[in-house]
Symmetry: C2
Subunit: 364 residues, 2 copies
Amino acid sequence: MQTPYYLIDKANLRDNMEKIARLRALSGARCLLALKCFATWSVFDFMSEYMDGSTSSSLYEVRLGAEKFPGETHAYSVAYADHEIDEVLGHADKIIFNSIGQLDKFDTQSSGHIRGLRANPGVSTSEFDLADPARPFSRLGEHDPAAIDAVADRITGLMFHNNCENDSFERFDEMLTLIEDRFGAVLHKMDWISLGGGIHFTGADYPLDDLALRLKTFAERFGVQVYLEPGEAAITSAATLEVTVLDTMFNGKNLAIVDSSIEAHMLDLLIYREPAKIAPNTGDHEWMICGKSCLAGDIFGEFRFDAPLKAGDRLSFQDAAGYTMVKKNWFNGVKMPSIAIRELDGTTRLVRDFDYDDFAAALS
Amino acid sequence: MQTPYYLIDKANLRDNMEKIARLRALSGARCLLALKCFATWSVFDFMSEYMDGSTSSSLYEVRLGAEKFPGETHAYSVAYADHEIDEVLGHADKIIFNSIGQLDKFDTQSSGHIRGLRANPGVSTSEFDLADPARPFSRLGEHDPAAIDAVADRITGLMFHNNCENDSFERFDEMLTLIEDRFGAVLHKMDWISLGGGIHFTGADYPLDDLALRLKTFAERFGVQVYLEPGEAAITSAATLEVTVLDTMFNGKNLAIVDSSIEAHMLDLLIYREPAKIAPNTGDHEWMICGKSCLAGDIFGEFRFDAPLKAGDRLSFQDAAGYTMVKKNWFNGVKMPSIAIRELDGTTRLVRDFDYDDFAAALS
């Protein structure tokens, strides 16, 4: 198969899915895939065997979830437009508004539906200000428990989403306690609570049983159905980006240019100024792996290899499932990576290829 | 027309085009549009009345240039793949290799074509390390004049691209002198020299005549045809991003959420951590304008208005032509902005709309 392509590995995906299924069984919590992180719908049927459905951040995502991901479909968006709301409601089992303003605005249209509101507890685990829902002046959710209480009769649930790649159960526990203390009165009035995504509970050493017990206790204390909305946790390590070295140079360091680009194909590496991952990243030869776009800083990172790289060598960037395919773009007209799936029996099949016509049609 | 949409204003575009035409007439330099910055081909015929053609950074871009932009077509890429080179050569009037390695690799296939090489003078004007072609360990072009001289019999031109939004003629002049001093011997052997893009010569106070004279003197001294490859300079102020306020909140500041997203629709604001532009940005009311994606830092900036904002208000982000449409993506499934053109007679026509099917087809 011609590079570049994203390769989704169902066996690795299944490892995460089995942990999610275990958490659901132990805790009673329901788990919905966050499409904002991963929306490659060819594997939705497979994932739906282990998960309860999907959650969304826009009209198009909620429709994709409704059409492609069996199970429950949650609708959330920072803001819906007037012309979107009826279609959103048609696709959603629940709708979660970001503000009381939006709840008021769409009160009549949504009155026959299960409704919720996003609450912002004012604390988070994000190490990046950019991704911190609790940042100063945050627009993400309502902050005031009293204001939420005043509309409690019009909603049956709340959504908190303040974790971000949080791999510490203790930190999660602390923050949930804070939510209990601060929002306890209104929590008792709700039927369901979503605790959002960003809990890295599929990580190797995560105390899954402790998390399950904590969620179960929370659910029982307030008499609510708990939801989690895993994104990264559901698909961590489930895909690679497969590339080929096109050219090598030496300019103070060994440089290898591959047929991909961080900006076009793994955008978060650029946005968060983080390196890609290559395994095993050992050996005597250190190389800087660069993208082929015109951007001077289009650099995947510096990695170690057993032998010098040369044109034609194949490389795999690890952990290429989350926030990659959903953000890919046509910068520089660099060939958009195909999407392929490695099935459980080891065979690999191409599910989507992109060509010049796709590029030209992205503009006008 | 329903927001969001990019609105290309041909009258503003014409202002830039006329400056380009003037520069060409005064200097003898040829000007090629850099498609990496702007590739909205509906206005290529119009632009081609004032420009000599287009230049590219990939196979798909060179094909777009060859098919849609009348005139000369330059091919450049940081690296071409084996399976691309014949098609690239079929579309290009000139091919510029990034390295001697690529020139060697494709020597036979490209021998009947006009060939050039990218040279890196080791200095630049970029204020961003990310965008600085002269950054340490840069992979962009060959640095050593002696190495370039050794292949001078196989090429007829060189490309230097070390300016980046450079609005200082003095700085450009200094850097060109440095290029003359450092690469003079090999420049004399060439037929054509591209000085790349990044010269902000369409800016209001730019001394266009001084630039023209400098280019003419350079061309005469070395006996070369000079090329420029304007991107931003060609389309500065030529488009806006039109959006609508969907919701307002107060959380320490006045917040307005619009039906767009910096990450999805004006990506460079996020990458370079810069604010959008709104005109006139005066008045007693200060508002933070936020995008509707889930990203906490999806913020266009803080701007001043004559009255408080409310849902339904229309806003225009200025300077939305360069590096916007070419990088737009489906993050969060946020509706991708349509593309519209305001003709010289003031009428506006929609040239491209994007819908759910485009979103679903971007994945698989």
